[in-house]
Symmetry: C2
Subunit: 405 residues, 2 copies
């Protein structure tokens, strides 16, 4: 299965049922984009839609577009399109605000209902822990941290709410949702799943595995645009009991009645807060249509295969793979450790292979099946090999650190 | 000063130093847009900038644009441009999230520091009260409501935090910031000013009048686009003591160190939360440049004059003016009460005069000096007069209510 030549890689592409999706994107010719795990590229149709939203709906329709162009419905409409990617009922997903804000809404609503502590996993994406630190400080709720290697058996009885990533942002390890939910159910713990690095690249079955609460990102594998609004999933039964504190007017049952007293909308709609950013939301809405042409299980399969190939082709370069090996399930990216990883990544970017770097020594390579070919993976591995063997990363220019790396 | 003919109105336009700004907008020919108090129209350059951000920075620059295109700096850069409109130091304003979310951040941070109640004014924009209701529920903080006609003397000693609009969303009455701040200072009350209906149309001197905390909207008179991100102002001295609970990674002192413990950035920057919506933010950033060509005091002067003229020309139509009369200061809009205001507004919209309606009986007309002419005001008043005298609003089609009105 691992190609032994560029022709082998092309042969894989010819048999790839997802290859036809590549034309929906308009990536610069000169680069191989392995950073869709951080910012997805624009689907052509999302760019067209954004122009239409700005230059027709905003410019000509003006205020009338809230109704006439369906702006009011976008948060729910986007949610309905995300639902099949994450195994949720369409009515249970809403697009709103950022991942960080949505974590706060959910954690605060759940924490208000329960007596126990809120907990996070020490080495997961920092904002998840930061938000719980903020909530704990505000409400004097005890805060627990799980050690990096803790599994579901480490959950203690005094925890009420846990935030947990499905795909680890560094390693791409995939959490066993069912196992965590089973352990949590025994201790009456609500888990908020963070799908930021999972949504759009692996198949997630939230409802089937008993997950009732989740958040996720619109700008990574979903390709919704830089800083695209995030999503929130709340099982409709569970939503009934939840009063989230960011109770802005868009989450009101009847926002345009301008009543003085807050009355939450039904279901996940009560997790809306302020007026949503329509320009960003409309790009996201159309970006999601790319997924209508591709089952998420096929997407996961191709992402895994591309990652396996990349790992195999770069196996003898002296890099340490900290991601799950080919025999295990993995998210859409692969992380390789190297003491001079920063410099190597700069040299790769200069050669047109764009991944990213996470301090202190991790190079991440994302494999979005929507626009990458097996030939891209072959070429990227060749260039990585070349950069390492030639030691061109030692050039002084690659050691200068920018702000976002 | 009140024109007695259309020619008089044209004469006013010829002398208007702000008239040159109109060409920066591209409003449809067939309408008179009196709803900039709800959604401002796009400046031409904001549409160009949005195309560039999407089709060059996102499409070609991809992840690199966070540095190379300055995306990381947009929240502060937009804040610096808003500062002169509201009388703030440039370093003290940040663009982030929505008005509702920003109210929560500020109210929660202040409420955590103080012992007393949080308070809102009963008839002001509902989301302000809704957010305090949510915060009160979460933290068990007592909640006070001020009666609609309460002034600053109604503040009781047990209040710690008050949210207060500078321009009332219905009446356009302007609050006396200095008087409220003086009364609040005596009782150690922190006021969060809501500038949503003020920013970009009246001159506000927050710092001069002792105001330390404010939020405001980017999509009304500032013309940043539908659902544009909001702003938050926090005096840098006051910010030092504040720990806001929506402590997402973008408000961290060093977000890209991925440290486990939250450490707030300096000043207002700690009020950032998640990743900002860049498409919406870039339109806002460029929309703000229109204000570089026009002193806010001139803008307020013209808005007032247009409102006065509109009130004078529609004085004998049987409508009740609930806005401040010509002798008083007023925000950028005028509100007229009429029992069939909904139907009249629909008839006006059908005739190309776009205002809005607030239940149960208020018609609002916004007067943005950036793109409206005195001739527009003359024509709008003529059409209003015609719709009322002819009773064309009685047509059945105007009685059907849409979702957003």
């Amino acid at each position: 299965m691992i190609p032994s030549s560029r022709d082998d890689a092309f042969a894989l592409d010819r048999k790839d049922p997802l290859a036809r999706l590549r034309e929906q994107f308009d990536l610069p010719q000169e680069i191989i984009y392995l950073n869709g795990n951080s910012l997805g590229p624009p689907p052509r149709r999302a760019l067209r839609r954004l122009r239409e939203t700005a230059e027709t709906e905003w410019r000509h329709g003006l205020i009338r577009s809230w109704n006439d162009a369906g702006w009011m419905d976008l948060p729910k409409k986007c949610g309905e399109k995300i639902a099949p990617l994450i195994g949720a009922d369409p009515q249970d997903v809403l697009v709103a605000d950022s991942v960080s804000v949505n974590i706060f809404k959910l954690a605060a609503a759940l924490c208000k209902k329960c007596a126990g502590a809120i907990a996070y996993h020490a080495d997961e994406f920092p904002t998840d822990g930061y938000i719980l630190q903020g909530l704990s400080h505000l409400t004097n709720t005890p805060l627990h941290r799980l050690l990096p290697d803790a599994d579901q058996h480490a959950l203690s009885d005094d925890v009420s709410v846990l935030i947990k990533s499905i795909v680890h942002y560094k390693t791409a390890a995939v959490a066993d949702i069912a196992a965590w939910e089973d352990a949590a159910a025994q201790k009456n713990i609500a888990i908020i799943w963070d799908l930021s690095h999972a949504a759009g690249v692996i198949s997630v079955d939230l409802k089937k595995h008993g997950a009732r609460f989740a958040v996720g990102c619109g700008y990574k594998f979903i390709n919704g645009g830089p800083g695209a609004p995030a999503f929130v999933y709340v099982d409709h039964e569970a939503a009934k009991d939840l009063r989230q504190p960011l109770s802005g007017w868009m989450g009101h049952a009847a926002p345009f009645q301008f009543a003085e007293a807050y009355a939450p909308a039904d279901g996940v709609s009560r997790f809306a807060c302020g007026t949503p950013p329509i320009l960003s939301l409309s790009a996201l809405d159309t970006a999601l249509d790319v997924f209508a042409d591709a089952p998420i299980s096929e997407i996961e399969g191709k992402a895994k295969k591309m990652g396996d190939i990349f790992l195999a082709l770069s196996a003898d370069l002296g890099l340490e793979n900290i991601s799950p090996p080919p025999s295990e399930r993995r998210g859409g990216h692969v992380s390789l450790k190297f003491s001079h990883g920063y410099e190597v990544m700069q040299a790769l970017i200069a050669r047109g292979v764009i991944g990213d770097f996470r301090a202190p020594d991790i190079m991440r390579f994302g494999f979005s099946p929507l626009y990458l070919s097996y030939a891209d993976i072959w070429d990227a591995a060749e260039i990585l090999s070349d950069v390492l063997r030639s030691e061109e990363w030692r050039k002084a220019e690659y050691a200068i650190r920018g702000k976002v790396t």
